[in-house]
Each structure stands twice: as structure tokens, then as C-alpha cells.
């Protein structure tokens, strides 16, 4: 019987000819990742193993991106703990503030993850790299600690949910609207324990940035991983990223067999998808933006591992160009990496943002998880391009987060209420 690309990647890394859903395997890893809030526990647990070195110092990536630039003394201590460990272990891929970016934008940009890889990261949005045809999934700190020691981890082979995307998106519709639409239909546990495999002729029209956004939010449907087929666009992205010289091994392209088995298949006509917004307090509470009654907002956040890439900033700038952020709204924009920041500067996007009255920050996860740089007060409402709108996610437990695309977020910043892009532009 045929296998899905997820099953093939897992089988390859286990040295088996085939694997089937439900099977427990111990597989070889190509890369491991942790950040400033998950690495400290991982390091503590790693120390208990009594080892003097990690399994491979070129395959451990450490990115202090959550509470950095250090938000308070405790965060500074955690970041230092991470830095000291990276130095002691001679970790090749530690990224200091100034080189740091939001991990799930930085890791693929720096060529640290390649098609066909098996990767784990101590961060739930590690599933982002499925956009490159890799199997990547989030784990906790203890799993990561053991992986740093052995280069291996255990997995239950997931069943696959096939999501067929057809046709092309309309104007102002992007990856974020697609994934919100899907989560709205299948629910926050609609893909629990499963691989979400995206396929269909609609993929070809999706930019890499949109594919990253879609794979990034697979976890919000409870999935173990999201995964896309590798096409020429993927390969040109990967070849560019490999110029960093951080990985010198060859990448592998796995494809799903025609007779691979799926637990379920769902089809979407991209042309029929409208800009979406997910209401508090779950990403599944989606509506078409056009059907949203006037909801006055206090803050807009554009950025994060979900939507802080160049395409996102270009879209936001296209909406904000020559306009002003509403007087009662704070609009905060976070380019996800230094490279994206620099490109946004060169293209004049940062100028557009500042002229519109938005704030442009250094890369950080800060506001997405209510860490720093944009916390909400009691009763405040925000439109955010981030990935979660749980109770208290961005600040006070009585604040509200509405998830949307960069186009909707930028339009809402101008309108001062949740607004579709074409109402503003």
C-alpha cells in the first residue's frame, strides 16, 4: 500500500521501508530547536543526563526570540542561561539579538531546515516548516533535552488529513484566510494527532510566505504537522536559503503515493474564500470579515511567526500607503527577522508604516503571547495577525484578540473598526 509524504519521511528517518499510522517509532533527527522560554527547562533536563556535549553542535538551533530584547530581569537571566549554554556547547546556530529573528521565520530563511527533514522544536509552531516538504513538529522541553543528547526522538506515526486546495485566491485573500477558514470548519481539534497534508492545483499559486502561514497554524487545528508538496517555488526558496552555508547536506523530496491512505479528504475552492476573522477566544470562531458588524478596536498587531514575513509587510504597506492609523488605535508592526526588516527598509515599507502612524519594532514574539511590547488592558480589543486568541493571550483576561490577515489588520487599523481591506483601499 502507498504512503503519504509524512509517512515516507518518518520511515526514511527510522530506516524502515514503510510505516503505518499508529506505529511508534524512534527516528533520527536532522535539526532541533528551542527558544528563550523553552530552552532553560531543556538545559536543566539535559544537565541531568550528565553529558559534556550535545549530539551535534551544528544541529541544535537556539533562538532567544520570545522575551527578548530582555523584557525584565528574570527574562534576562533566562536569556543569559541560554547564551551561556550555547557558548559552553559551541552551538553553531545560536542567534544573538541583532541577528535573531522570530524562530519560525528565521530557521527556514537561514537554511536550517530542508525538504525531507525530520525536525523537532520546543515550540508548538515548529510545524511551520512543513511548508518546505519537511516533517517538523513541536515538542516540550524534556523531549528536546533528550533529542539534544541523542539526535533521536520517539513519534507515533500520524494518520493524514488531505486538504485539497483548488483555483486561486481573490485579491486581499492570503494563506491566513485559508487556514482560518479551514480551522473554522474542522475546529481546534479537527486534526488532533494528525498530519494535515495540503495539496491540489491551488498550491502553485500560493507564495512560500502564504504556505508558511498555513503550515504554521496546523497546530491550531490540533495537528501534529502540516505539510506541502515540494515544487519549483519551494526549491528556489531552499536554494537561496542554503547560501547561508549552515547546512551542507542534500535535501530530499518525498511525494505522497497516489494510493496513500488518508483518514479524510476535504476540498476548498480558494476563489470562494473571503477575508476571515477569528473571534475570541478560539481560532475556530471564524467569520467572513464582510459579515462582521462594527467592532471598535484599540490595537493592531502585524507580525509574528504566522504573519511577519515580507509578503505580509508588503500587503500591510499596500493598505496603509498614504493613510493614517485611526486616532484611537495603536498599530504595532514586527518584521519577523533582521533580513526581512532590512528588506522592508529598502523597499520603503518602514517609511510607509511610520508615516501612517504605526510603530515598527525589532523582531520579537513579544505581544503575540502577552509577553511585552503591546499588552492589552482590561476590556481592550485587538486585531492581530498572530495565531492564538485564547483568554488572556495578549494581556488582561478581559481583553479580546481577533485573528486576521495582514490585509484585514492594516485595514482595521485605518478604519478603527474591524474592516475588510476593500473598504479602506
Amino acid at each position: 500500500m502507498g504512503m503519504t509524504m509524512t509517512e515516507k519521511i518518518l520511515a526514511f528517518h527510522t530506516g524502515l521501508d514503510n510505516v503505518t499510522p499508529g506505529q511508534l517509532i524512534e527516528a533520527r533527527l536532522d535539526m532541533t530547536l528551542a527558544n528563550d522560554i523553552t530552552a532553560p527547562i531543556a538545559i536543566q533536563e539535559f544537565r541531568k543526563l550528565g553529558l559534556k556535549a550535545v549530539w551535534d553542535e551544528s544541529r541544535v538551533t537556539l533562538v532567544p526570540d520570545h522575551f527578548t530584547p530582555n523584557k525584565d530581569i528574570k527574562s534576562a537571566e533566562q536569556a543569559k542561561y541560554l547564551r551561556d549554554f550555547a557558548r559552553e556547547m559551541r552551538i553553531c546556530n545560536y542567534f544573538e539579538v541583532g541577528k535573531m529573528g522570530i524562530e519560525h521565520a528565521l530557521v527556514p530563511e537561514q537554511g536550517l531546515v530542508l525538504p525531507g527533514d525530520l525536525m523537532i522544536g520546543a515550540d508548538s509552531h515548529t510545524c511551520t516548516y512543513g511548508a518546505l516538504g519537511a516533517f517538523s513538529t513541536g515538542v516540550g522541553s524534556t523531549d528536546l533535552a533528550c533529542a539534544m543528547a541523542t539526535g533521536k526522538s520517539w513519534f507515533k506515526v500520524p494518520g493524514s488529513l488531505k486538504i485539497v486546495l483548488k483555483n486561486r485566491c481573490r485579491k486581499w485573500v492570503s494563506g491566513k484566510d485559508i487556514i482560518l477558514k479551514i480551522i473554522g470548519e474542522i475546529g481546534v481539534d479537527g486534526a488532533r494527532y494528525m498530519a494535515m497534508e495540503f495539496t491540489g492545483d491551488g498550491i502553485a499559486s500560493l507564495s512560500m510566505d502564504s504556505r508558511f502561514t498555513i503550515a504554521n497554524m496546523a497546530i491550531e487545528a490540533g495537528a501534529k504537522n502540516g505539510i506541502f508538496p515540494v515544487d519549483t517555488l519551494t526549491e528556489s526558496y531552499v536554494q537561496e536559503s542554503m547560501k547561508s552555508g549552515r547546512r551542507n547536506d542534500r535535501y530530499r523530496i518525498f511525494t505522497s503515493d497516489p494510493d496513500a491512505k488518508y483518514e479524510k479528504t476535504i476540498e476548498y475552492d480558494l476563489e470562494s474564500i473571503e477575508p476571515q476573522v477569528a473571534f475570541p477566544h478560539l481560532p475556530e470562531n471564524t467569520k467572513n470579515v464582510s459579515e462582521v458588524n462594527e467592532i471598535k478596536i484599540d490595537q493592531v498587531v502585524i507580525g509574528s511567526c504566522t504573519n511577519g514575513r515580507l509578503e505580509d509587510l508588503r500587503t500591510a504597506a499596500a493598505v496603509l500607503k498614504g493613510k493614517s492609523v485611526a486616532s484611537h488605535v495603536r498599530c504595532l508592526i514586527f518584521p519577523a527577522t533582521q533580513k526581512i526588516y532590512l528588506e522592508a527598509l529598502r523597499e520603503g515599507l518602514v517609511e510607509t508604516f511610520v508615516e501612517a502612524g504605526a510603530v515598527v519594532s525589532t523582531p520579537t514574539c513579544g505581544p503575540c503571547l502577552g509577553g511585552h511590547l503591546g499588552i492589552l488592558a482590561r476590556g481592550e480589543k485587538a486585531v492581530s495577525t498572530t495565531n492564538r486568541n485564547f483568554v488572556g493571550r495578549m494581556g488582561h483576561k478581559e481583553s479580546e484578540v481577533y485573528l486576521a490577515s495582514p490585509a484585514v489588520a492594516a485595514a482595521s487599523a485605518v478604519a478603527g473598526v474591524i474592516s475588510p481591506p476593500d473598504a479602506v483601499v
Binding site: D143, W154, L369
Partner: protein, 172 residues
């Protein structure tokens, strides 16, 4: 090998709903610490401000579907464990939380009937070895889903670090 640690827990049920996310279990603003007691003091605070004050040693959390969804933060099961909760029963668990709980030695049981029928304040007796949950308040008994052998091995060894250590030492 024989399981390590306690195998029978008695405590009162603390009932929670579906999709209890990791931000509810431990808000991200407290992830700048690793101190288990500090984490415990903020456990569930955005959905129930009184949780840390009211929870008693041995209490048993009974959640609904998709318990522990959201982030990969291991601080979540750590906060629950350090708050004195002896084990967590749920209809289903989000996968990263499930792994984390097993890895750090927080006992969890997947038991849909138990999750549906147990009421807050019921007195429960959980037998981890048998996977049974006895509701002494209602007289009902429920069975939980058994763990695959591989995971049972991690549990028996007292967590993933112990298992990895044994493997590294060649004492498998």
C-alpha cells in the same frame, strides 16, 4: 521493570471544560521563571483566580476534549503538578501536552465516560496500574485508555530523562 512512584491517588474532582489551553493553565507572562512553586501560584489564574488557593494536595483535574491545547510549554504540566494535583483525567488530550505530561511524570488518563459523568467535588480513587477511576461519590467506575507499551515504559522509568539516561549508560 516495576513502575516507580505512587500508583493509587485519592482526591476530589476539579472539573474543567473543553479545550483548556496552555495559556489558561499557565499564562505566558509567567514563563520568565522555572520555579515550580511560582508557576503553581499562577496555575489557571485567568480562568479561575481561586484555583491555586483552593486546590488541595491530591485533587484530580477532570477536563473535557483537547485538554492542554496550544503551546508546547512544559511549564503547563509542571504548574499543574506543583500545585498539588495528583493526576489529570480528560476525554482527550492535545498531543504535545500528552507527551509533556508523560515525560515529566504527571499522571494522565484518557477516559471519556469519566470526563462526562464526574461532577466537580466528587471524590475519586484512581488506580494507575489498572487504569481505573472509581467515583466514590456516585459509586461508578470507569476505565481509561491503556497506554501503549512504549509510553508505559517511560512512565515506569519515571520519565523520559531517566529512560534516556539508562539508554545512554547502556543499561537498557
Amino acid at each position: 521493570m516495576q513502575p516507580q512512584g505512587k500508583l493509587i491517588f485519592k482526591g476530589k474532582a476539579y472539573k474543567l471544560g473543553d479545550n483548556i489551553d496552555t495559556d489558561a493553565i499557565i499564562p505566558a507572562r509567567y514563563l520568565n521563571t522555572l520555579d515550580p512553586d511560582e508557576l503553581a501560584s499562577h496555575c489557571m489564574e485567568d480562568i479561575d483566580r481561586n484555583f491555586s488557593a483552593q486546590v488541595e494536595q491530591g485533587d484530580i483535574i477532570v477536563g473535557g476534549e483537547n485538554f492542554g491545547c496550544g503551546s508546547s510549554r512544559e511549564h503547563a504540566p509542571l504548574a499543574i503538578k506543583s500545585s498539588g494535583v495528583s493526576c489529570v483525567i480528560a476525554s482527550s488530550f492535545a498531543r504535545i501536552f500528552y507527551r509533556n505530561a508523560i515525560n515529566i511524570g504527571l499522571p494522565i488518563l484518557e477516559a471519556r465516560a469519566a470526563s462526562t459523568n464526574i461532577r466537580s467535588g466528587d471524590f475519586l480513587e484512581v488506580n494507575l496500574e489498572k487504569g481505573t477511576i472509581k467515583n466514590t461519590s456516585s459509586g461508578e467506575t470507569y476505565n481509561s485508555e491503556p497506554f501503549p507499551e512504549f509510553m508505559q515504559e517511560i512512565i515506569n522509568m519515571g520519565g523520559l530523562v531517566n529512560r534516556t539516561k539508562r539508554k545512554l549508560e547502556g543499561n537498557e
